[in-house]
Symmetry: C3
Subunit: 171 residues, 3 copies
């Protein structure tokens, strides 16, 4: 099994097919598959999006909710199983809303991701290719997300940029 | 003629050189060339942009306006002629403003594009790589555009991402 | 020295690692290294960003400030030395705020960049892959930045798109 203990990082814009591609990659490996969801259903739009993702994944997935303590959720996983983390930008949003120390949280997460114990697939959003946002909070989020994406891409074995549902190999 | 009956999908950000590159690809093939415009000149800025594109294309193009019924415009075309559709995101905007059923319109368009009867070049915008927009309509547009781009990329023979005027081959 | 008199263009979103990668490329060549800064410290956030970049670069760099007359700064440089220009989008912003003739300024800059006299590394932002901005000034900036990026990419020997800190070769 050539991709045992490898980290694959899948980055792309909104609706670029990141989650669907990550699911396809994970499901090409033997089950059981674990899905770690970082989304919090704090409004109707988000609830809909979560339900849509869940119905697309179909049978055979164990779902773990980890809106904040993603590092511990990863550490508690058994070895050698395909795991999909969806997604880092929502996880970052949750920590920003909770006013946590972003630098410390990102270092702790990167530390766990640097020692993958299975074929792990991590999804994140590219948010920095539009106009610089007007408000300071959005600019801070954009900076923090960009920094986190760089950290994870640096330790990943494979990095894919999703373009209109198609993967472009970056690393 | 190796690219008879092929669909080429050209995606990129604003001012990334999508239209100019698509025109170059089409004009490398024997005329007559057909340009299907989806833009509606609803304000002065848009009128200017349309005039600019038209003057750059120069002689030898037949222009067809299809702000809404793009599928029928494509079906009415003769076989084996280079056709440029510019662009899908404006077409989508027109349907959203008219409050049409986006899912149904996209399926009908994708159906026609899946059976290209010439070397067809279709241009669209990447709009999902910035910060998630504040307003719900912009978020809906971003989702619908992303979904449509995925549909078209999936059936296209060639997919190019434009970066600063240069094509990056995705498929 | 194979990359003498070459222009390398490094484009990417916010926090995509453009500056850091450009510094790495320049520092792989023999010193002295020249850093041409286009940033103006007009507020605290920008002052912080400038200080951060400066501390990361470390020793051995000569810094030249050229918020507006970048072309003359480049023309005054000695031959055969690694030079980093960081960045074109801030330079463009400065000219827009000063209400200068953008077309003329861009032509003059592109003219100088088309005759590099050393290994020159030029950094710029991709700003066109989000939702079309609401306000007309931001749309104009997006258009002008896109056009400038196309001009520079066309004359560059190498074009790199930064994705999460990793370079993707476009040209």
């Amino acid at each position: 099994m050539p991709d045992r203990n490898k980290l694959t990082f899948i980055i792309g814009g909104g609706r670029s097919g990141k989650s669907a591609h990550a699911e396809t990659l994970a499901k090409a490996l033997p089950s059981p598959w674990t899905y770690i969801a970082t989304a919090q259903a704090y409004d109707g739009e988000m609830r809909e999006r979560i339900a849509l993702h869940r119905s697309r994944r179909g049978e055979g997935w164990a779902t773990i909710d980890a809106p904040l303590d993603l590092a511990s959720a990863l550490e508690a996983l058994p070895d050698n199983q395909p795991v999909l983390v969806d997604c880092l930008t929502l996880w970052l949003t949750n920590h920003m809303l909770a006013d946590h120390d972003i630098g410390a949280e990102c270092r702790r997460l990167a530390d766990v991701l640097s020692r993958p114990r299975g074929p792990w697939f991590v999804v994140s959003n590219e948010v920095g290719q539009g106009i610089v946002p007007d408000n300071a909070l959005a600019r801070r989020f954009r900076d923090d997300a960009g920094r986190l994406n760089q950290q994870v891409a640096a330790i990943a074995d494979t990095v894919l940029l999703m373009v209109a549902g198609l993967p472009l190999k970056v690393k």
